[in-house]
């Protein structure tokens, strides 16, 4: 199994000091090359789950194992290295660096992974997402759909084992939505990369054979909200 989550817990403090549980996931698994869509209500903890898996946010407890390696409890710098080497991340708002061209955005991911920059692969990835003629364009010179395609290429730059995609089509027009999802799925298939994709879209979800509802995985979402006694 590529990704194994067990008894994962995360809560956030309220201004009153009381902690609100956001995630309490007894078990979640993802196999090598598997593609899963994760759905759920807004504010249900989907992005938080992706952040915890990627190491951007620390969990309160539990276990997250990637290729059998436990990530919970690692130092931040070690989580940074693992994220750069083994995971790719596609954001809802693309999050391209505006000062850098499409090609440089892809190369940056390689730089931060501490690897020798493989320009040929960066170009190949951009060509695969249909941007061979836009490699030297700044993000501001690209359309919304093109920007998201750059972010897909960037997420795959370091040959990750797991691609995390957080509502990658939320800001894309319907015509481009299916093209982007098709692109992500086909590229992950070609590179044998596992995909965990968060979406609200029924159309997007319908393209996946495995659809998980966070509300069903997450015991925190199943607990009734208890008002404080006044």
């Amino acid at each position: 199994m590529l990704l194994e989550i067990a008894n994962l817990k995360k809560s956030y403090p309220e201004p009153s000091g009381r902690r609100i549980p956001i995630l309490d996931i007894p078990k979640f698994e993802l196999a090598q090359g598997e593609q899963v869509v994760l759905r759920g209500e807004s504010g249900g903890g989907k992005t938080t789950l992706l952040h915890i898996i990627s190491g951007l946010v620390e969990a309160d407890g539990g276990s997250v194992r990637l290729e059998g390696v436990e990530l919970i409890g690692f130092s931040e710098s070690r989580r940074d290295r693992i994220r750069a080497a083994k995971m790719g991340y596609v954001f809802q708002t693309f999050n391209l660096l505006p000062a850098f061209t499409a090609l440089e955005n892809v190369r940056l991911a390689m730089t931060f992974a501490g690897r020798a920059v493989d320009v040929a692969r960066a170009k190949e990835l951009l060509a695969r997402v249909g941007l061979e003629n836009r490699m030297h364009y700044l993000p501001s010179q690209l359309s919304v759909g093109q920007q998201q395609r750059v972010s897909v290429a960037r997420a795959l730059a370091n040959r990750p084992k797991l691609l995390l995609a957080d509502e990658p089509t939320a800001n894309v027009d319907p015509a481009n939505q299916s093209r982007i999802i098709e692109l992500i799925q086909s590229t992950c298939r070609a590179e044998n990369v596992a995909l965990l994709l968060v979406t609200h879209s029924d159309d997007v979800a319908s393209r996946f054979t495995r659809v998980e509802q966070l509300g069903e995985l997450n015991r925190a979402a199943q607990q009734p909200v208890v008002e404080d006694a006044v």
Binding site: H51, S54, L56, V57, E76, S77, D80, R81, R83, A84, A85, Y89, F91, N95, L96, L97, P98, A99, F100, E104, R107, L108, A109, T111, F112, A113, G114, V117, R154, N158
Partner: protein
């Protein structure tokens, strides 16, 4: 892409902010360089010029510094005169007797040697008469010894050489006593050539000139010393100009005796008749006594009623210590403050950009950049702005140096070139910039280091 390239791109992505920030640093550094260059030139000039190859200047009682400024730098108002016979007391060996035979005139105890001649063995005494001008330049009347015995240069080992012509002679068949040598700047400014005639004015820059001129027979090569700005005429000819004859004085009161300032009859310009000793005065005597006699001689002379002996080196050192160096430090402190303000502007510029760049930093972190990567990138940006601004400022400072020549040259005689390195502090500018750039980047770097990734994405 390496971290340097990333930092460089970030700097260029905000061209206006980066340029303004670097410009403020450039201005600060340009001011520092300018202060260092000009003060360095002045200090070096004073130090070098005070090491003139003679140990003492003898002149009338008065301000020692004025005597030095007047004699060495051709600045300040001319001082009072002393009798020529007093100058003769310093001539080594039997110089006093030989001088009397050469010039003629009345002299007390003509057979004896000079009072100080025993301290002058192997040394020399050169008389100077000052007070006249050639155009705006000082007219210095002296003997040919001035260019034959004195040297110049940092080590005071370079003989005076002529770009054209020769030294003036005591008497020449062609021009009689009326020959002159001019410094390089005088020749250049007044467009003088060999054979040109210069006319000394009556003791003021704009005064009427004497009717008798001096033929330019030599033009000095540039020396970087005040001599570049001097018009040197034969002292024998100078004495023969109208109004340069000293009157007789009452021995007790020192008052002038009316009608006694009369020049001897001369049949023509080439006449060999000289002004007699008793009608002559000198403004200063450049003295090089033998061995270590200078200290004793200085004390002896200063005990007399009407003359003083001044060590130019000591006077200049005193001036440097009391005035020039403290002033330079004060100016440096001020200009350094400008640099610190510039550094703060770098800090503010980068720190302000942190807000709009929080997301970029979070993206880089999400891509795998460590906090250390981000810190290094921000510090590099700060360093780049400081160094780029500093380098431009350094070049501008050096470029502005020559523009100050119209003010510094007349005072120092030294021309500032495009790349004059005149201060021992200048090598510290680049390390200083690295330090300032690093310090300016620390606070923004810490802010970047602490950027919460998940919240900023």
């Amino acid at each position: 892409m390496n971290l340097f390239a990333i930092a460089l791109r970030n700097v260029f992505y905000r061209p206006l902010a980066s340029m303004l920030t670097a410009t403020s640093m450039a201005l600060g550094v340009a001011l520092v360089v300018l202060v260092l260059t000009i003060s360095g030139v002045i200090e070096k000039s004073l130090e070098r010029t005070s090491n003139v190859g003679y140990n003492l200047i003898i002149g009338a009682k008065g301000s020692p510094l004025q005597l030095v400024f007047n004699t060495v730098f051709f600045l300040s108002k001319p001082v009072e005169n002393i009798p020529y016979s007093y100058y003769m007391e310093y001539l080594p060996g039997d110089g006093r007797q030989r001088e009397r035979e050469r010039i003629g005139g009345e002299l007390k105890d003509p057979e004896r040697s000079g009072l100080y001649s025993f301290l002058m063995k192997g040394g020399f005494a050169i008389p100077l008469c000052m007070g006249d001008y050639v155009d705006r330049f000082r007219c210095v009347a002296t003997t040919p010894d001035y260019f034959e015995l004195l040297k110049h240069g940092d080590a005071n080992d370079l003989p005076y050489t002529f770009s054209s012509g020769r030294n003036f002679q005591d008497y020449s068949e062609e021009h009689g006593f009326f020959e002159a040598v001019v410094g390089a700047e005088v020749a250049e400014s007044l467009n003088l050539k060999i054979g040109s005639e210069i006319f000394a004015s009556h003791g003021a820059e704009s005064g009427d000139t004497h009717a008798q001129g001096f033929a330019v027979v030599g033009i000095l090569n540039r020396t970087g010393s005040p001599n570049d700005r001097g018009a040197f005429v034969n002292i024998e000819g100078f004495y023969l100009l109208e109004g340069h004859v000293a009157p007789d004085r009452d021995e007790d009161s020192g008052l002038e005796k009316a009608g006694t300032a009369t020049a001897p009859e001369r049949s023509s310009k080439l006449s060999k008749v000289r002004l007699p000793i008793e009608k002559r005065e000198v403004t200063a005597i450049l003295l090089k006594p033998s061995g270590f006699a200078a200290i004793g001689l200085e004390k002896q002379v200063n005990k007399t009623k009407f003359a003083q002996a001044v060590s130019p080196i000591a006077q200049i050192e005193g001036l440097l210590g009391v005035f020039v160096r403290p002033l330079r430090w004060a100016l440096l402190a001020l200009t350094s403050l400008v640099c610190i303000v510039s550094a703060i502007s770098i800090l503010v510029s980068i720190y302000n950009s942190m807000n709009e760049r929080k997301k970029d930093i979070a993206i880089m972190r999400a891509l795998g950049a460590s906090r250390d990567h981000i810190t290094i990138i921000i510090l590099m940006e700060s360093l780049m702005l400081a160094l780029a601004g500093g380098l431009v400022g350094w070049l501008v400072g050096h470029a502005l140096g020559p523009l100050s020549n119209p003010w510094t040259m007349p005072a120092t005689g030294v021309r500032i070139d495009w790349l004059s390195f005149n201060s021992s502090l200048e090598p510290f500018i680049i390390p200083g910039l690295v330090l300032v750039g690093t310090l300016a980047g620390v606070i923004p770097a810490v802010a970047a280091y602490r950027t919460p990734v998940a919240k900023s994405l």
